[in-house]
Each structure stands twice: as C-alpha cells, then as structure tokens.
C-alpha cells in the first residue's frame, strides 16, 4: 500500500464519522484539492531540493504499542501527549488556570465546534500537506488565552509517531489575547526504527501586545518522515519567539511562516538543524513584513555529517509601505564530512525604501585555528572537535527559557555523536 492509498483509506474512514456538516465540507474541499494536485514534485520551487520519494515509497506498517515516553518530561504545567495523532488521556493533564482555555482539539470541537469554524478555515489554494492535514486531522491542541492571561508554566505538546497510526495528522491552534503570554513546547519523537509519517499544521494568532514563545523539538527515529507547517500572525507590538531543534529523522521538512501584520510587531527565529548519514532536513522560513516599524531577526545553524543533506531557505519579504523595517538573518553551516551537503539560501525581497535589512549564509568546516588553540592547552584533538561542535550548536539556541535549557542541551549533546 502506498502513502496515497493509505491516506485515501484514512479519508474514507474519516468522512463516515459524526462530524458537523461544515467540518465535513472543509475536509472535502481540502481533500479534493490535495487529490487533484498530489504530492509536490521537483518542479515545485518550494520543494526544489527536497525529494519526497521516501514518502511515495512509504509503506505503512502495523503501529507499535505505546509503552514508554522518552520525552523531556515536564513536571508542571499542561501536558498533552498524542500518539499517532490521537490523544493519550492517561498521560495528559490539563490544569485549570484563570483566563486559560486549553484542551485537545477533538474535545474542543465536540464541545463548541462552531466557535472553531473560522479558525480552521484554510485558503482555497493551500499547500499540499496543509490540505492533507485539513482532510485528515483527528486531534491536536486548542489553546486560547484571554487578554492579560499568562501561562505560568510551559505548555508541552508531545507527539509520538509510529504509534496507533503510522501516518498521523496533528493540528495545533493557538490564540493569544491582548497582552497575554505563553510558552509552548512542541516535541515530536517516535517509536522504533520503522518508517512513519507525521504531518503537523499549526496556526497561531497574536493579538496586540501578546507574546508567544514556541520551542520545537524534533527527535524522530531514523526513518521518520516529518512534515511541519507553523504559521503565526503577529499583531501590533506583539512578539513571536521561535526556537527549533531538528535532531533526528529520515526526512524532516519544517515551514515557519510569520506575518508581521501590524506596526511594532517583532519576531525572532532561531534554530539548529542536524543531519547524519541517510538523513535529510529542510527548513523553509518566511517572514512577511507587511506593516511598518516591525523587527525580525533570524539565526539558524546547521551541522551536517556523513551523507546527510540539509536545506535552508530563509525568505524575508518587505511589502510596499513597510517602512522602518529592521531585519537581520544569518545562517551558518558546518559540514562534518566531505560527503555532507547543504543548500543554504537567504532570500530578501524589498519593496519599501526606508528599511534596514541584512542577511548572510556561510558553509564551512571547523576552524583549524580554533582546534589548535584548544589542543595547545592540552585538550585532545577529538575532544577539542567535540567541544567546538557543541559550542557551535548551543550558540544557535541562545535566549531559550532557563527552565528548558538543560533539557535541550542534553538533546543536543546526545545528537552530536550521531552526526
């Protein structure tokens, strides 16, 4: 069975469910759009360097049972654990807090589906995997903060792939009221070495003065196929901060789209992507400077070893009238072997006059002058190289919330020997 026939079967099963008519219509429209266009191919500019043959070949296997949870194990705050796109209630907890509405999406739809109707709507000509998600998602996150509300502890969304269903579609909806604040950790991991597929679509809106910090951790199994799409609209004087870590997976593709819609909005995107032998990682980020007086900064780093392959496409688009835009982007890559490969492409498009924009991308190897400096202080060559890789990697995740620093550093440290 191919992926397409698998999804076809998933869709047939879905449409027989007891869902509101409006949602069935949304799914139908999305499915027919997806089915008409199929998977993106090499002529699609957005997928130029990333082949989906692994997904075309993908043969769903009997999913594993969920027995263990190798996560960064938060001890406080809300925790939603999903396996194969479905909630695992016994591992999840949803503490009540004033001004905070948090639930799994299936429950929120069952309780007050009509309220979610406008939020689930997608554009007609959607990206293929977003359309697929619309047609097939079963569950996900619904988070809404009232004006002025604040999540005291980070909210963790953990998704385990390869369990319950071998192709899973997860939907995340985040809505922050004026001057509210949230820190959301989205951790994707997987069980076993078999291939599985995860397709995530996340949509966040930030009302004026709101602040969303988002931490995305991808620590998949070696044959996992992860397609993620994170979209955020940043309102007046609101701020979006993203930290992304790609640390394992056969084929990882993550899109991050930020719309700076109103004056004074800010975003900061930081990330570290890694790929070892047999792995492919692709980050596409797009920052739309629509309103004047907005700021964006982006720092991505890549560590690619073995026969690993990485793609970084960072687009900054300054629209007409977006004067006083202040934007800086850098992408630095270290190739750890002579068979590793990276395509790093900053894209700057500016249609306003009074702006400050910079961008740069580098690809290189460890600096031998740095290696010698450490060796000249008695540090063995292998240890020196490891220290320098760690330094390079950790530098990418500066500004991370202190409560998460140790756990994320441990994920990075565990990853480096695999490259």
């Amino acid at each position: 069975m191919s992926a397409l026939t698998h999804w076809q079967a998933q869709y047939a099963q879905r449409s027989s469910g007891a869902e509101p008519a409006w949602l069935r219509e949304l799914r139908e429209a999305a499915w027919s759009g997806f089915a008409a266009r199929g998977l993106p191919g090499r002529r699609d500019e957005d997928w130029k360097y990333t082949r989906l043959s692994a997904l075309e070949r993908f043969a769903p296997k009997a999913p594993l049972a969920l027995t263990d949870l190798p996560t960064i194990a938060p001890t406080a705050g809300a925790l939603l654990v999903f396996a194969g796109g479905r909630l695992v209630p016994q591992w999840s907890r949803l503490p009540a807090a004033p001004g905070v509405e948090v639930a799994n999406l299936a429950a929120a739809l069952a309780a007050d589906g009509d309220a979610l109707r406008p939020r689930l709507r997608l554009a007609d000509a959607e990206r293929p995997f977003a359309a697929l998600n619309q047609a097939l998602f079963e569950d996900g996150l619904w988070l809404r903060l009232a004006p002025g509300a604040r999540l005291a502890e980070p909210l963790h969304v953990v998704h385990v792939g390869g369990v319950a269903q071998s192709s899973a579609h997860l939907r995340l909806l985040i809505e922050l009221g004026e001057h509210s604040e949230a820190l959301v950790v989205e951790h994707h991991l997987g069980a076993g070495a078999d291939a599985y597929h995860v397709n995530v679509l996340a949509q966040a809106t930030l009302a004026p003065g709101a602040r969303l910090r988002h931490v995305m951790l991808l620590t998949h199994g070696p044959a996992a196929i992860h397609i993620g799409d994170f979209r955020v609209r940043v309102g007046r004087d609101a701020r979006f901060e993203s930290h992304a870590l790609a640390a394992g997976g056969g084929l990882l593709r993550q899109d991050i789209d930020v719309a700076l819609d109103e004056p004074g909005g800010e975003c900061s995107l930081r990330g570290l992507y890694t790929a070892g032998t047999g792995e492919h990682v692709d980050f596409h980020t797009r920052i739309e400077h629509i309103a004047p007086h907005c700021r964006s900064e982006e720092t991505y780093k890549g560590l690619i070893g073995g026969t690993g392959r990485a793609v970084f496409n960072g687009r900054v688009h300054v629209h007409p009238g977006a004067d006083k835009t202040d934007s800086a982007m850098t992408c630095a890559n270290l190739l750890l072997s002579n068979r590793a490969e990276v395509d790093a492409k900053p894209e700057l498009e500016i249609y306003a006059d009074d702006v400050k924009c910079s961008h740069g991308a580098t690809v290189g190897q460890l600096d031998e002058a740095q290696v010698f400096y450490l060796r000249a202080r008695g540090i063995a060559e292998a240890a020196a190289r490891e220290l320098l890789m760690t330094a390079f990697a950790r530098d990418a995740l500066g500004g991370l919330d202190a409560r998460l620093q140790d756990a994320v550093a441990a994920l990075i440290d565990a990853r480096l020997p695999q490259l």
């Binding site: 000249a376 008695g378 540090i379 220290l387």
Partner: protein
C-alpha cells in the same frame, strides 16, 4: 641548572619555503630568553613549531624538552607536559564558555601529573584569585572564549591561562603587540610573577619595550632563519640604537 629546551640544527619550511635554516638554541631552567628580529625572520615560526602547530614542515634538526623529543609529540601532549604557547592572535570561540574550556585544560594538565581532576567549586576557588591579580573582569568565566575582547584583554587572558596551567616552558609569541602601556605593565607583572628556578621562558618580540619590563637573561637576534647574534640584556640597547638594518649590511658583506 638543567637544560629545559635544546634546539639544534632546526630547519623548518612553510608552504615549501624554508623559514628556519639551521637554528640552535639552548635554554636552562630558571632562565628567560628573548628572541628578537625583523618581520619575516622566523620568530613566530619558532614558537609555533615548538608548540606543534600544523603546517610547519620540519626538514632537519631536533627540539628536545627536558630530554624528550618534542617533535614526536602531539600539541596536546606537549601542553600537558608543561609547554605553553601564548598566542600572538588568540582566537575567539563563540558558544564555548571560558570556564568549561579552562577547567578542561587544567584537568588535562593535572591528569598528566597524576593529580585528581578539580571539580567546579575547587576550580572556581583556584581561578578567582588569579583573575584579580590580572584585573580580569568578573564575568570573564561565563563569557565565550575571547569573544568580543579587546586586543589587550585577549593578551591578559593568555597570561591568566599561563598562570593557571603552571607550565615549565613558556613561549610567548609577541605577547606585547597591540598593548598600551598600562596593559603592558599588567602583562609584564604576570610574566614576572611566574619566573621561577624550575621554569624557562622564551619571549618572541619585535620591540625592546617588553624587555624593559621583563629583563631577559639572554637575547638572541634572529635573521633569515638563523640566530646571528646572542648576548646579555645589553644587546637590547644596541638593537634600539642601530635597529635591524645592520643585519642586512652584515649579510651583504658576508
């Protein structure tokens, strides 16, 4: 006094070009020697080849340190054994904290001497006092190695590392370049504090200025890869008077 460093007939090429052309030099424990000479005479090559930097091809000769064949050792083995190179241009390493780096370096040296590694607390106790002596800022340990440091701060940090590692053979490659007079004084005091009967030092410098603060036992003049003159501290004064121009004159008449 035992011989600390013994170099004989050393010939070294860089990119196929011979830079050191038969160099002999011997330094006893307890002594401070200075190697002076014009740009391109091979001063930095000498310091780097003793420390084991890549890219230097030894064509002939030997370098013995406390009786061992230094050229057979990796840079880290040399460092653990007590050889310290103070860099002319210390590198910046963003993302690597000075504390992590220094503790790794100190413990590598301790392991070589058969001593227990220092834990974070003991290490902190050791470094705090030394930092004060050299006027090093409080946040130094948390900062990334040399990142954003001024030229003077970098050189002070080199001297600080030297003090921590307690080397037996100190090589300082133009430690005085880029220093204003106050920084030069601090750096010189740091060097002088480490003068000891069981330690030898080799100062590589272009200028006499450093030698006013750190009076050497011997001065060697290097020209075109060979030591053309050696003498006592008074040689610095002569060089100040006549510059390096006489070297060319002498070479031409030879």
């Amino acid at each position: 006094m035992p011989v600390m460093l013994e170099i004989s007939g050393l010939r070294v090429a860089v990119d196929g070009k011979e830079i050191l052309r038969g160099l002999d030099l011997s330094i006893d424990a307890g002594e401070v020697h200075a190697v002076m000479g014009p740009n391109g005479s091979g001063k930095s090559t000498l310091a780097n080849v003793i420390a084991g930097r890549d890219g230097y091809e030894v064509l002939a000769g030997s370098v013995r340190y406390r009786g061992q064949d230094l050229l057979a050792q990796s840079p880290e083995e040399r460092a653990r054994g007590g050889v310290f190179l103070g860099f002319q241009y210390p590198v910046e390493i963003p993302g690597l904290s000075t504390a992590v780096f220094l503790r790794a370096a100190v413990n590598a040296r301790r392991a070589h001497r058969g001593e227990e590694p220092l834990d974070a607390m003991d290490f902190l106790g050791l470094v705090k006092g030394r930092m004060k002596e050299l006027g090093i800022r409080e946040d130094f340990l948390q900062r990334a190695i040399n990142e954003g440091f001024s030229g003077g701060e970098k050189k002070r940090a080199e001297i600080f590392q030297m003090a921590l590692l307690e080397p037996q053979l100190v090589l300082l490659d133009e430690i005085d370049s880029g220093l204003d007079i106050d920084a030069l004084r601090v750096v010189s005091d740091g060097i002088n504090r480490l003068r000891a009967p069981d330690r030898a030092m080799l100062l590589v410098t272009h200028y006499r200025r450093l030698l006013d603060y750190v009076p050497p036992d011997r001065i060697h003049v290097l020209s075109e890869g060979q030591i053309v003159r050696s003498g006592g501290p008074e040689l610095a004064g002569e060089l100040e008077q006549s510059g390096y121009g006489w070297l060319r004159a002498e070479a031409a008449s030879a």
